[in-house]
C-alpha cells in the first residue's frame, strides 16, 4: 500500500511510503484543486475530515500512484495496468474546501459534501455526491448520477442513466440519452435533453426535450418543451409557453402569457391566468386528434377562432361560454339543418384583441369562462 | 426422435382447425394469418438458420418465405397440407439464397475421406471414450456437440443439407421431402445417405 499525505498550509509535509522514508513535499494552497486521474477503480471521496490534509489510498499494489505538485493543484495519477482483474478502490480524504477534479475510466465515484467546485467524470460508472456548495460538472457514459443540492451552476451528463439532483442555485444543464431527469428548484435557467421523463420543480427559463416521456415542470418563467411521445404539464408558467408533443396531452394549470402548443394526438387544456392584461396573450393550440379546452378570463380582450376539421357524428364539436359571431349560412342551405352542426366558430371577447386560434382535426373544442 | 414423432402426430390433429385458419386468412383476416405463421415460424427459422448458417440470411429467408406465403395464400387450394406448402416455399427461398452466394461446394466424396485418413479412430471408439458427466457439464458438452454438428453441416452440399435438415430436425418423411423438393422419394433417400456419410466422416474428429 502506498500512502501519500499532504498537509495544507503547513511548512512541513509528510509522506509515508512503503519503505517508511520521509519525503518533503510541496504545500497545497487554500482553495486548491485535488486532481485524480485513475485508469481504473472506484473513487470514494470522504470530505468529513477536520484535518487539512489530502490522503489517497489504493488497495492494490499493481496500481502505482504518482503525485505531482502544482501551485494550485495536487495531482494523483495512476500508473499501472489499464486492465486489471480485481476490483480496485481509491479512498480519498480531502478537506471540504478543496475543489475536486476526478476522473476514473472504469469505476464509480462517490463524494461527500463539498464547499468547492467539483468536476467528476467516469467512463461507465455512476456518480453519487452529497451537497455541493460550488458548481458541479458530472459526466458519466452509462451510470446514473445522484446528487444533493448544488449551489452554483450544474452540468450533468449521462448516456444511459438517470440524473437526479436536488436544488440548483445557478443554471442547469442536463443531458441523458436514455434516462430520467429529475431536479428540484433551479435558480437560473434549465436545459434538459432526456430520453425519458423530465421533472423539474422550478426554474427560470426551461428548455426541455425528450424522445419519449412526460415533461413535467412545476413553476417556470418561460417554457419551451418538446416530447416525442408523452404529456407536457406545468403547474404555473409566468411567461411564454411553447410546447409540442407527438403523442400526449398538454396541460397548463396557469399560463400568464402567450401559449403556443400542439399535439399530434392528445388533449390540450390551458387555463389562462394573466399577470398583465396589456401584454401579449395570443394562443395557438392545435391537436391532431383530441380535445382542446381553454379557460379564458372574463375581461380578456380576444378574437377567438375555433375549428374542428372532422366533427364527430351527431355531436357538437364546439362548446363555448362566449357567444359566437353570427355566421351567414351559404346560399340555399336550410338554416336549421340539424344534421349540419357548425364546426367553425369565431367569437369576439370584449371587442377583440389577442388572437386565439384553437384547432383539432378530430375532437371537441371547449371554451370556458374562467 | 420421440419428440419429432410426437410433433408429426400433433400436426395431423391440428389440420382441421388449420383449415379454418387458412380460409379466414385467405379472406383477409390478418390475425388468422399471424396464427398460421406462429405454428410454423420457429421451424422455418431453424430451417433457414441451419441452411444459411448465419443470422442475417436466416432472417431474410424467414421474411421472404412468409411474405411469399402471405401474397400467394389465395392460390393455396388444399391440394397438399399447409406445412408442405410453406416448407416448399422455405426450401426454395433457402436454395435461392445459397445459389446467390455462388459458393462452390465441392462434393466431398465420403469414401475417399476415410480412406485418406486411416489413422483417425472410428467414430464409435471416440464415443466409447466419452463418459457421462453430471448435468451442467452434460449440457455444456451437448452444446459443444451441437456446434460441432452445425460445423459438419457446412460440409454438405445444399441439397444434402436441405434433406438432412428436413428429415433430421423437422421430422418430415422422405416421401414428403421428395414432394417439397419437387422430386422423388428416391432422390431424397440418396441425398440423405450422402449427407449421413459425410457427417460420419467429419464427426470422427469429435
Amino acid at each position: 500500500m502506498i500512502r501519500a499525505v499532504r498537509a495544507i498550509g503547513g511548512p512541513l509535509l509528510l509522506v509515508l511510503a512503503l519503505a517508511g522514508s520521509l519525503l518533503a513535499k510541496c504545500p497545497l494552497n487554500e482553495g486548491a484543486t485535488v486532481v485524480i486521474r485513475a485508469v481504473v477503480g472506484d473513487l470514494m471521496v470522504d470530505t468529513s475530515s477536520r484535518e487539512a490534509v489530502v490522503d489517497v489510498q489504493v488497495d492494490n499494489n499493481a496500481v502505482q500512484v504518482q503525485e505531482t505538485c502544482g501551485k494550485d493543484t495536487v495531482e494523483f495519477t495512476s500508473k499501472g495496468p489499464d486492465q486489471i482483474r480485481q476490483a480496485i478502490t481509491w479512498k480519498i480524504s480531502t478537506p471540504k474546501t478543496a475543489h475536486l477534479d476526478l476522473v476514473t475510466m472504469a469505476g464509480n465515484i462517490t463524494v461527500g459534501d463539498s464547499d468547492g467546485n467539483v468536476v467528476l467524470r467516469t467512463a461507465g460508472g455512476s456518480v453519487i455526491t452529497g451537497q455541493i456548495k460550488g458548481s458541479a460538472a458530472i459526466i458519466t457514459q452509462g451510470g446514473f448520477i445522484k446528487s444533493g443540492n448544488i449551489g452554483g451552476d450544474a452540468e450533468l451528463r449521462s448516456q444511459g442513466g438517470t440524473l437526479e439532483v436536488g436544488d440548483i442555485g445557478g443554471n442547469a444543464e442536463f443531458h441523458t440519452t436514455a434516462g430520467l431527469i429529475r431536479a428540484g428548484n433551479i435558480g437560473g435557467s434549465a436545459t434538459a435533453v432526456g430520453g425519458r421523463t423530465i421533472i423539474i420543480g422550478k426554474a427560470a427559463e426551461v428548455t426541455a426535450t425528450t424522445n419519449a416521456g412526460d415533461i413535467s415542470i412545476g413553476d417556470a418563467i418561460r417554457i419551451s418543451a418538446k416530447s416525442g411521445g408523452g404529456n407536457i404539464t406545468s403547474r404555473r408558467v409566468r411567461g411564454p409557453f411553447q410546447g409540442h408533443t407527438e403523442f400526449g396531452d398538454i396541460r397548463l394549470d396557469s399560463a400568464a402569457a402567450w401559449v403556443e402548443a400542439s399535439t399530434g394526438q392528445g388533449n390540450i387544456v390551458v387555463h389562462m391566468v394573466p399577470d398583465n392584461y396589456d401584454g401579449d396573450l395570443h394562443m395557438n393550440l392545435q391537436a391532431g386528434l383530441g380535445d382542446v379546452t381553454v379557460y379564458l378570463p372574463q375581461r380578456l380582450r380576444a378574437s377567438v377562432d375555433a375549428s374542428v376539421q372532422r366533427p364527430g357524428f351527431q355531436s357538437q364539436p364546439i362548446i363555448s361560454d362566449f357567444p359566437p359571431l353570427p355566421v351567414r349560412p351559404p346560399q340555399g342551405l336550410i338554416p336549421t339543418n340539424r344534421y349540419y352542426t357548425p364546426s367553425h366558430s369565431e367569437s369576439l371577447l370584449n371587442g377583440g384583441g389577442n388572437k386565439i386560434v384553437l384547432h383539432t382535426s378530430l375532437g371537441k373544442i371547449t371554451i370556458r369562462r374562467n | 426422435m420421440e419428440a419429432i414423432l410426437k410433433r408429426t402426430a400433433q400436426r395431423v390433429h391440428d389440420s382441421e382447425d388449420e383449415k379454418l385458419l387458412i380460409e379466414q386468412a385467405q379472406s383477409g383476416d390478418r390475425e388468422a394469418f399471424e396464427q398460421l405463421v406462429r405454428r410454423h415460424d420457429r421451424d422455418i427459422l431453424r430451417l433457414a438458420f441451419h441452411m444459411l448458417g448465419n443470422r442475417e440470411e436466416a432472417r431474410e429467408v424467414f421474411q421472404e418465405t412468409f411474405l411469399k406465403a402471405y401474397r400467394s395464400l389465395n392460390r393455396f387450394r388444399f391440394e397438399s397440407s399447409f406445412y408442405t406448402w410453406i416448407y416448399r416455399i422455405a426450401t426454395n427461398v433457402s436454395l435461392d439464397h445459397l445459389r446467390k452466394r455462388q459458393t462452390l461446394k465441392e462434393e466431398i466424396s465420403y469414401e475417399s475421406y476415410t480412406e485418406s485418413h486411416p489413422d483417425r479412430p472410428a467414430l464409435k471408439d471416440t464415443l466409447a471414450a466419452t463418459t457421462y458427466y453430471s448435468n451442467p457439464e452434460r449440457r455444456l458438452y451437448g452444446k459443444e456437440v451441437g456446434e460441432k454438428i452445425q460445423d459438419a453441416l457446412k460440409t454438405l452440399s445444399e441439397k444434402e443439407r436441405l434433406v438432412f435438415e428436413l428429415r433430421h430436425y423437422q421430422g418430415l418423411r422422405l416421401k414428403m421431402i421428395g414432394e417439397i423438393m419437387g422430386s422423388t422419394e428416391e432422390t431424397a433417400k440418396n441425398y440423405l445417405f450422402r449427407a449421413t456419410q459425410k457427417l460420419r466422416s467429419y464427426l470422427t474428429n469429435v
Partner: protein, 314 residues
Amino acid sequence: MNLNCRDYQHQITLFFYEELPEGIRPELEVHIRECSECKEAFDSERALHSVFAEDTTGWDVPSDLLVESRKALADELDRIEKKRSWWRMPAFSVVFTPMRLLESAALVAMGLALGVYVSNQQVVRLNSAVAANPASVESQSSTIPGNSTVSNLQIISADPATGQVELAGEVSQPLRFHGKMEDDLTRQLLFSALRDASNPGSRLKAVDLLSQKPTDESVEEALINALVFDDDAGVRMRALEGLRKFADEQHVQAAFVHALQNDNIAGIRIQAINALLDRNAKDPDLAQKLTEATKSDDNPYIRTKVLQFVGTSR
C-alpha cells in the same frame, strides 16, 4: 433380393430414421451378421446417431433471432396492409385517421361488441362480458355512439319503394379502457401499445407498467422484444431495467448479451453488463460469451468489468 453392400448401407441409413421399406428388415439383419464391412457401417451409423442424441442445441433457435424475425415480418405486413387500405377507401370517405390507444381510465362503452382499432395495424375484438350478443354486430341501426366517427361508408342497397337502406362502413371511437393488469385483455392492449411503432411515449409507459408486475413468460417476451428491438433508447433502457432481476434466466441473459454486443448507446450496454454480472456468478461459459460480445467495445468500464468477471470465473 439381389442387393449389393452399397444398397445395404443405404438401407442402414433408412433404418435409423425408421424409413425402411416393408419387409426389408429381416434380410438386412441377416446381411449385417454375415458381412463385416456392413457390420462396421452399421456400428458407425449407430455411433453417429448417438452423437446426434447428445446434441442439446440443434433444435434451438436463438430466441432473440426469433423475436427479431417475427417483429420484422409484422412490420412489413403492416406496411403492406397500410398501402392496401388506402386503396379500399371510397372517394367520398369521411376520414382515415388512425386511432391509437389513449391512456385514460373510463369504462368500456356498453354494448360495443365491434372491433375497435387500437392501432392502425391491429384490430382487437372486445369480448367483454357486458357486450351485446353477436347479432347486434350485423345491425348497428341505432347504436352508433355519439362521439364516434364513421368512415368507409358504402351503400349496399337501397329500395326507394320501401325506403329501406343498407349501409356498410366502419365506426371508430376513442377507446377508453379500464382494466386490471392481470386481465388478458389489458395485457393484450399493453402488448399492442408496446408494438405501436410510432408512439415512443406509449411504448415507454407500456414497458413501465409491464415491468412492475411479477413477470410471466409473455410479459418477459414482450420486454425482451422491446430491449432487443425498440428504436427508442429510453424504451430499451426501461425494458432492461424491468428485466434486470431475471438476468440469470437463459432467454433474458441472451437478450442482455445481445444488447451488450449491439446497442449503440453505451449507457444501455453498461447497465446490461452490470445486470449480467450482478445476477450470474462464476460461469466460464458466460465469461466466454461476454468476452466475445465486448471484444470491440470501446468503453473502458465495460472492458474492465468483463475482465474482472473473467478473472474470477477461472
